[in-house]
Subunit: 423 residues, 2 copies
């Protein structure tokens, strides 16, 4: 069996909002072992909704629908569903009471639009929505299941968790599915593909490997399908171990949903290392990536955004001679920045980044996209030069991620590492 998702709403088709609902629903369905065959976004027009319903039900046994259940005139999902099922809309006392309850709770006024939300296709099983006025609706129709939910993300998520997913588990006899995502940084997609050629060639037919490239990183996703859940998990995990062994722990920084900053913080925490950052061209992004992770304060003490040369001298102790002879974007400057931030922030390890993000500021010698990274502790240091080709934002993001990766590799090397590779 498989599912299709229909998201209804002109606001998606004009690009006003990004459809995050379907990715979340797809994740949840996949975790249950229901693959998603197709996602369709259509307008609030009845013809388009009917055609999406026909298409989806021609390939899927489960059709999840979001959007178009609001109190305004452009929301016509219920009418379209009634037409599709060949039924009438009927007043639902249960829904009316829920709407009245919410209206009292939030001191609102009953409007015609809100009252009309109480009318439902008469074959709907109502799913109580504790987060809003429009209930979810479950339909059994022609041996298929249709579920309609509001498009507001937290209302949809509530209904999925509290009502839809538990019912799906009961209603369908589901095959086993197992995903494993391996997170890598420091090697490009095609370099990885070359290294994994033999492993890929000998994958069993029920296990697939996908490459998901990102900024300064590539995620590798193994997906296995089968009947024996325990065997499936074993074979996916064993292939994952082969891949990790082949690429090495300095390239593989984690698995699942983790980020580079999370992997670095975990490592810092394990080794009881305090980290500080001295950022020039990344302007605070490394700090932001680290502090986006809950608990960052255990290992990250803070840092300096040393955007001007004067600040590099005054607040980090970079020597004026260094800036004069080598420039702000140089190995020598990032080295002194990293050393300075360790000292002034009383940290064990310092990261420093200085670069020319663009569009201005490039020279023939140091074109836009030149970035220097340094990672240092009291006794050792590592520096790296990047030559980037993106726009300003991309150069900044790439530099920040490369700095996080360099810091992780430096710490693995200096504070204990499972491999022999140098950072």
């Amino acid at each position: 069996m498989n599912a299709s998702i229909i998201t209804i709403g002109d606001e998606i088709l004009i690009g006003q909002i990004i459809d995050t609902n379907s990715a979340w629903m797809a994740q949840q369905l996949n975790l249950l072992g229901i693959p998603v065959r197709k996602i369709i976004t259509c307008s609030d027009g009845e013809t388009d909704i009917l055609s999406a319903l026909s298409e989806a039900s021609s390939i899927s046994e489960l059709i999840l629908i979001t959007g178009g259940l609001g109190p305004t005139k452009d929301d016509i999902t219920k009418q379209a569903l009634a037409t599709y099922f060949g039924v009438d809309l009927e007043f639902s006392e249960e829904t009316y009471q829920q709407i009245k309850f919410l209206i009292n709770k939030y001191n609102l006024k009953m409007t015609t639009g809100l009252r009309e939300q109480s009318y439902m296709p008469n074959n709907a099983q109502l799913l109580v929505n504790k987060m809003g006025s429009a209930p979810g609706m479950w339909f059994d129709f022609n041996d298929k299941v249709f579920v309609s939910m509001p498009g507001v993300p937290y209302e949809m998520k509530y209904l999925m968790k509290a009502e839809v997913l538990p019912r799906l588990k009961v209603q369908f006899d589901l095959p086993a599915i197992y995903h494993k995502t391996i997170l890598t940084s420091g090697m490009g997609e095609s370099g990885i593909a070359d290294k994994l050629e033999n492993i890929e060639a000998s994958l069993p037919p029920n296990i697939k490997l996908a490459y998901l490239p990102g900024v300064a990183q590539v995620r590798l996703r193994l997906t296995g399908r089968g009947n024996d859940e325990i065997k499936l998990r074993e074979s996916v995990e064993s292939i994952a171990q082969e891949i990790i062994a082949k690429l090495g722990v300095e390239i593989v920084y984690g698995h699942g949903e983790g980020s580079l900053s999370e992997a670095l913080l975990t490592l810092l925490n394990e080794k009881k290392i305090k980290l500080a950052t001295a950022e020039s061209c990344t302007g605070g992004l490394v700090g932001h990536l680290l502090t986006s992770i809950p608990g960052a304060s255990n290992s990250y003490v803070g840092g300096i955004i040393a955007y001007s040369n004067r600040i590099k001298e005054r607040r980090l102790g970079v020597r004026p001679e260094t800036l004069k002879s080598h420039g702000a974007v140089s190995k020598e400057t990032v080295f002194e920045m990293a050393k300075g931030v360790i000292k002034h922030f009383e940290a064990n390890v310092g990261i420093a980044i200085s670069g020319i993000a663009g569009p201005g500021g490039g020279t023939p010698d140091k074109p836009v996209g030149t970035t220097w990274i340094a990672v240092a502790n009291e006794t050792h240091y590592y520096t790296q030069k990047l030559t980037l080709e993106g726009n300003r934002i991309l150069n900044i993001k790439y530099s920040a991620n490369a700095a996080l990766r360099a810091a992780r590799q430096f710490i693995l090397k200096q504070y204990g590492n499972e491999t022999d590779e140098s950072p």
Copy 2:
């Protein structure tokens, strides 16, 4: 005429990545006056791609396709397109040379996968991709246009801007359309709607006003459609002026694609003010938002990420008594942080932010979501308390944007302002 968008990739159907490409493409098409009828996300399977192509071309004259052009085995978009058009794949010397150029530039090795990227359906017009190895492809087929682009967002955006949008303008006879987006911060959607009630009620039928809520800001987009381009522009611009006058310059911070950080930097530049930041809970995000704008170094000198209390004392001079009696998240602490960063960074104006982003760290007195902001110069200061309700990431983003807005309002008030409203 209208367009459909097809995004290809199992990674979207399992919910591993959120499809942001189609929202961006839909925006761009709408700005050109091409409405989007449907967005289809399908798997990397040939049957599914062929069926999506048939569906899209049955309702649209323009079909934009992203994804499935990478060098790995799971990328089969080109084969599917060749089957759909009934043509063969042919070696493209032009593409091969571009790949070789990129490989030399980045010191990579030629792989089988990369070499295979040089094969193209023989009816493709190649669109040079300066951001990666897979070119875009333009097909004229049965009086419809099909465009295939890589799924990597910056590659797709480059191709759209440099190649696809200019060609669409030439190829299709499009009606006149004029957009004006007014950027606001500091007033909620319903507050704005109340203020604009009369203006909205008297809009001519060919001009529409849309509310686009964001994090700590609301964008207002006027869209006019018609035949007389000059008149259309005049009437949209005149309504925009009415709206700006009604809301005031402290709420309206710009128009078009601008950001709050850009508006603040422009103002700082005009007034020749040097700004520094002292960030705790936002961990560098304010610095990152400012330094994402080219030329930020003219007005932004840098700042401190004072994540630990020790750093707040040592590097910003916040008094231990202040931290002890009022806590790190307090009016008194952010005031001293702002004063400290002005002094230590030799700036005219300082922004300070301290808050509890969550999920941990909240107390009954100061729950998760409590944030204090201060903006100060030598003689004046402004503080604000926020009580936020989002998750960690959202609280951080909201706090950073609110701080940028507060700084802009402070500067308008202290250094010359066109209105009387206080920040």
